[in-house]
Amino acid sequence: MSASTDTYVPKTRVGRITNFVDTRVGGSSIVKEFGRKIFPDHWSFMFGEVALYSFVILLLSGTFLTFFFDPSMAETHYDGVYVPLKGVEMSVAYQSTLDISFEIRGGLFMRQLHHWSALMFVASVSFHMLRVFFTGAFRRPRELNWVVGCVLLILALAAGFTGYSLPDDLLSGNGLRIIDGVIKGIPLVGTYISLLLFGGEFPGTDIVGRLYVLHILLVPALILLMIAVHLFMVVVHKHTQYPGPGRSESNVVGFPIGPVYAAKAGGFFFVVFGILAVIAANFQILAIWDYGPYDPSPVSAGTQPDWYIGWVDGALRLMPGVGEFVIFGRTISLNVLLPALAPAGLLFTLMFAWPWIERWVTKDHREHHILDRPRNAPFRTGIGVAGIVFYSVMWAAASSDLIATHFHVSLNDVTYWLRALFFLGPILGFIVTRRICLALQRKDREIALHGRETGRIVRLPHGEFIEVHEPLNDYKLYRLVNFESPEVLPAQPNKAGHIKRSEKLRGSLSRFFFEDRVAPVTRAELEAAHSHHAEVEAPAEKAEVSGR
């Protein structure tokens, strides 16, 4: 048993120590397994990493803050160095945040680093998810990892919101008040939930302590767990890659983790840390001393949540003041509940379900490891942009007051426009995006068949003028011709010969999605085009298959 390990005698001291450790924990097999994992290289693949690094920075800076933060809502009178608040009545939580900002060495920097990292964390998570969506990386076998990612997004929002409410300043209190309003808007049980959550009538004396436990224990633990599951699945599934020569569904082309990626990723962590540190050192964030301690009576103008909760706040701002009615002596307040929950519910439901919706419509149950270029999946790209527009309209609505003051327009007009865009924007976004994708595909097709236009006009001996087209090299050509373009799959009868209603719906969705399509260039077309340039101009047009 020990024969193999004993025969190896290290020559140096470092070698001896390494060998000692290795023979006891088996490090070399782990390094062998993970160090040889191949990752493809593309800038858009790095945002998951950015999210991970921001999270690590959040843990580091957050730990520092917990040393000094006191999550108590006991009343006190400020006696610190900040003159405009001297003697003002406030909670201990707010006072300790002021102390972190003004009296603890490096405290303000750490607070700002923590907050900026939180903004970066959610931003990079969002960016990462958009990349995964638009390239179709969520398809089999990665559907469950997509779901884990969606859960991570929700956890990130939860982490952000619970943290936002901790300093107990006026801004965070206003935010909590809105949450309280939404909870109280739930029919029948809302009031009771609110009383339970706040330990009495809002704001009570419990909420900061409770949110603190969630913020520093439960939510980060869940995030860590989900990150572990997420990364484990990435290892199991292997990374996706963009189409290119030599890349297939059964291989991964790129660099191994060790040593190239380990070095790159390690360096990248410090790059992200550096960027956030520079921002945190130079840009003020959440100036709690400006807002003052929380007091339920004042509400400041320009009260907004952090950017990632903004869209929910925007939906509340867009909702007209209708939908409140009384049934059996109980007030049902849909004018708060509906905007707070419906758009978020719709967006998250579609997000979670999208891999299955797409599979159902296309009936494509194959594994996919090669990514789509967004233009080569016009329907999906269109849907994605519709979602972005839907989100952005609500997002913009959260800053409607600042739009009004900074662009010198009427606040009412901003609201009216955004209300219209709330419904029309996603539709327009879908149509325009799909048309742009199809146009780009046609352009790709043109270039693949006829090469790049050089702008050089040549006169032939018999007097004809032609423009010289420069053929693409094989690498570029491969990118343009190697993609899949799903076709309309009409409703199919089942074994009994019936076409079920759900199948009819699927068929019409399939028509809606894939009726307009641009077929990939075939080998025959390519050869024809290259041998007989002038003659194939017309036939190439015909080759564009239309579902009509």
Binding site: I275, Q284, D290, P298, A301, D306, T405
Partner: protein, 270 residues
């Protein structure tokens, strides 16, 4: 006592009670009103100032406010080119003309601040003329504007309760309905802040001396001047606009720089 209880059902008892109630209410109101107006007129303007002011007024203001500052006639929808200025006081004139809001550059949701159109002396003369038309809030004395005597912490509390809902807790300004807005307060002089509170220009409510006393107004000014002078301890304030400008920075500069680095890191291969 017995005579009173015997006559409680007299036909005129209700009328007497009503009269008594009205007298008490009216009397109290008059006293309260006098408390406000007691400080109303403290600066004395000379007759010459008033005369010069009237000339300026007729030449520059009467188009909208009418000769004698009686206001323009109301239009069909209750619109009015300019309101009557009798009783608005010297403080209103000093604020409106001193900040360039009057004469108004153009019609709009509210008058915008711009470079002054009149010299200090002319402004004073206009104020003298308008003050002579009826009692109103006066231009505050130096003592009420002395920031050193104010308590910024107390002023901060008053500011958050009374002013922040329009002007923003960090005095960065905010939107009102239909294109109206509450301006940012950085760079506004002490006297103009005081006068704004006392006279309620544009869409601002009047904070009378009974509501916020002159000393409390001084506290508010002290608070505003303190936060203006201290700057932003955490670096660039991004307009003190809160989460919107912070999110904007993260999505533009923050993500932009990260994207630049990702492109650099993955540049050599593929």
């Amino acid at each position: 006592m017995k005579a009173l209880s015997q006559r409680r059902r007299h036909p005129l008892a209700a009328v007497a009670l009503l009269l008594l109630g009205l007298l008490v209410t009216g009397g109290l109101y008059a006293v309260a009103g006098n408390v406000n107006e007691a400080k109303a007129q403290t600066t004395n303007f000379s007759a010459q100032d008033i005369e010069e002011g009237e000339k300026l007024f007729v030449a520059n203001c009467a188009t909208c406010h009418g000769i004698g500052a009686v206001g323009a006639p109301q239009g069909a929808h209750g619109n009015q080119a300019g309101p009557a200025l009798i009783g608005v006081g010297a403080a209103a004139v000093d604020f409106q003309v001193g900040t360039g809001r009057m004469p108004m550059q153009m019609s709009g949701p509210q008058a915008q601040a711009k470079p002054n159109q009149f010299s200090e002396e002319q402004t004073m003369q206009l104020a003298a003329y308008v003050a002579s038309l009826g009692a109103g809030p006066a231009i505050p004395e130096e003592d009420l504007l002395d920031v050193a005597k104010g308590d910024p912490a107390a002023g901060g509390e008053i500011f958050r309760v009374n002013c922040a809902m329009c002007h923003n807790a960090s005095a960065a300004g905010g939107a009102l309905t239909r294109g109206k807005f509450a301006p940012a307060l950085a760079g506004v002089s002490e006297a103009h802040i005081y006068e704004a509170m006392a006279t309620g220009p544009q869409n601002m409510p009047v904070f009378s001396d009974a509501n916020i006393s002159p000393e409390e107004k001084r506290d508010v000014i002290a608070f505003l001047k303190t936060i203006e002078e201290q700057g932003s301890p955490g670096g660039f304030s991004l307009g003190s606009l809160g989460p919107v400008s912070e999110g904007l920075l993260m999505w533009t500069a923050g993500l932009g720089i990260v994207i630049a680095f990702t492109i650099w890191l993955t540049q050599r291969s593929s």
